[in-house]
Amino acid sequence: MTDSPLLELRGVSKRYGAVVALRGVDATVARATKVVGLLGPNGAGKSTLVKCLLGLIPFDGQATVLGFDPKTDGASIRARVGYMPESDVFLAGMTAVELCAYAAELSGLPKTEALQRAHATLYYAGLEDKRYQPVEGYSTGQKQRVKLAQALVHDPEFLFLDEPTNGLDPRSRDEMLALIAELPEKRGCTIMISTHLLTDVDRVCDSALIMHQGAVRFAGTIDELRTNAGRTRDYVIEVRERVSDLYDVLTARGAVAGAFSPVALTATLPDDLTPVDVLRLARDAGIQIRKLEPHRESMEQAFLRVVTAAPSGPRVGPTLEAR
């Protein structure tokens, strides 16, 4: 079981009557992956995919999650997966420690173990002082932490977080992201985050799975998403001064350049001009280059590029390997 990928989807399709929710989704998430962002506009098929992965609804195609088949072993998967929903998940009148202990028991842990882990997880989530208070009275930030704790309490191997920073103020959001970022190291679990906040993805995810219209449009690392846009000749060049001189030098060699600050420009290099050539040309012209790196799109730009592109399958091979 442990040699199998965390997630493997082959031609996963789901149809609700005339509506096609998933169109032959192919993707593999390796065990070594730490945090994967599951992105896509509303109606992209993210929720349906999660339901399929948890074995809650039937689907066509093949899938394994943690080595188990969701079609036949949904309960085994759900016992090993933690789920933090976007909406509230509170049971009336329960304190945080009761809720987490109950969550652990429902995931199969014995009662004593469940209670011990409930305390430990709430401590980890920063709620040790509030754990005996009813969850209904918590602030939004505290509720998000309880939701994270109840998803973590049974030691999941795979954690699915749905909009984990929704409704949080900047400080709470920062704390929540810090908590999420350290989870793979501290708890040894892989995390999949479904969110619309691309800055969150940029901050904590090492990989992304972008869905649109029921299909996976991109599967790869964040670096690949932001750089591998089919425009591998784009560079950002930062100089000490005289950016206009560098502009002239590069355009004279056939590059398409554009200054975006007094000390930096972007340039699309022609095929016969390498970054080393750029450094040489700058030296010959007496221009001091401080930074030369491949141009990276912002997450928003990369996301929009992927979802607005013609559907031609995943842009990067569908395996998310930790790199």
């Binding site: 929903p85 909406s87 049971l91 429902l106 995931s107």
Partner: protein, 305 residues
């Protein structure tokens, strides 16, 4: 002679950081999760003073009062009470008649817990909590039903069984006591059937409506007026149909099992009609609960993303 070794002072103020270790022990089988749900439901019902405890007090008062009546009226005949056409002793009719009062106690709990239990879970997002785990809809339904039936049994079965045992203790001769012994089984049977009905019917309303206060209102309206009006309408057409009202059916069941002659509404209905009515109610209620829970369970996970 050597000086005794001083005992080291106990370590104080040491923080034992046990650290994190992945749980590697056995996990509970999904088929046993209904027990966890039932235990939690019982704990929730017991937790506050107003959900279960007033009803227990009501059942207790009923038990003590009927017990006192049994003791003080043990030699009295009661003309209105007849068994097989002959006048019967009051002591032989008090227990089946007392179900009416035990049912009132049970109705309190249908209002405070049973009619809102599933609705509350649906409206607070608890379904997501349950069904993103190995819990199956059937585990949830069984867990809730078992817990609620146990709560109702504490009100509808415990008192009558205690009273029946007391009645046997008041028997004039050992032979009479032996003769009365099957009544314990009858008390258990009526109590169990009534407990199931009082657990399942309000929970079905709760599952169907899905919002706490509307479910509570709908249940109160249905049980106090709706089903009674339907039953009386049916009674006007054909008297045995009065047992459409499950409350009447429970009383008919009790009275028939105690071999009493019945007067008033329900007199024409037989044991079979009462059993059919109760079985139908139970089947429909459990079916509605399961269908509703299953439908909403599938929709609950990932619904908001």
């Amino acid at each position: 002679m050597t000086a005794p070794t001083p005992t080291p002072a106990p370590t104080r103020g040491v923080i034992h950081d046990l650290g994190y270790a992945r749980y590697a022990g056995e996990r509970r089988q999904p088929s046993t999760l209904w027990r966890v749900i039932a235990r939690n439901q019982l704990a929730y019902t017991w937790k506050t003073w107003w959900r279960w405890k007033p009803a227990i007090l009501g059942a207790l008062i009923t038990t003590v009062t009927v017990g006192a009546l049994l003791y003080f009226s043990r030699d009295k005949m009661f003309d209105a009470l007849r068994s097989n056409g002959a006048a019967a002793r009051l002591i032989d009719g008090l227990i089946p008649l007392s179900f009416k009062f035990f049912r009132m106690a049970a109705f309190i709990v249908t209002m405070t817990v049973a009619s809102t239990s599933i609705a509350q879970d649906r409206s607070t997002g608890a379904f997501t909590f349950y069904f993103s785990r190995p819990v199956r809809p059937i585990d949830y339904v069984i867990g809730k039903l078992v817990a609620m039936t146990a709560v109702m049994a504490s009100l509808l079965m415990a008192g009558p069984v205690v009273l029946t045992l007391f009645r046997i203790g008041l028997a004039d001769t050992p032979t009479e006591a032996l003769h009365l012994l099957p009544l314990v089984g009858n008390a258990i049977l009526v109590g169990a059937v009534a407990s199931l009905i009082y657990a399942a019917a309000p929970m079905a309303m709760s599952a169907l409506i899905g919002q706490r206060w509307p479910a509570l209102g709908a249940w109160a309206g249905y049980w106090m007026f709706g089903i009674a009006m339907v039953a009386f309408g049916a009674y006007a057409a054909w008297p045995p149909l009065i047992v459409i009202d499950p409350g009447v059916a429970i009383e008919v069941l009790a009275i028939k099992l105690w071999h009493l002659d019945m007067t008033g509404p329900g007199a024409e209905a037989g044991l079979g009609a009462a059993l059919i009515s109760l079985t139908l109610h139970l089947t429909v209620a459990v079916g509605l609960i399961y269908a509703s829970v299953r439908r909403h369970a599938l929709a609950s996970v990932g619904a908001s993303s």
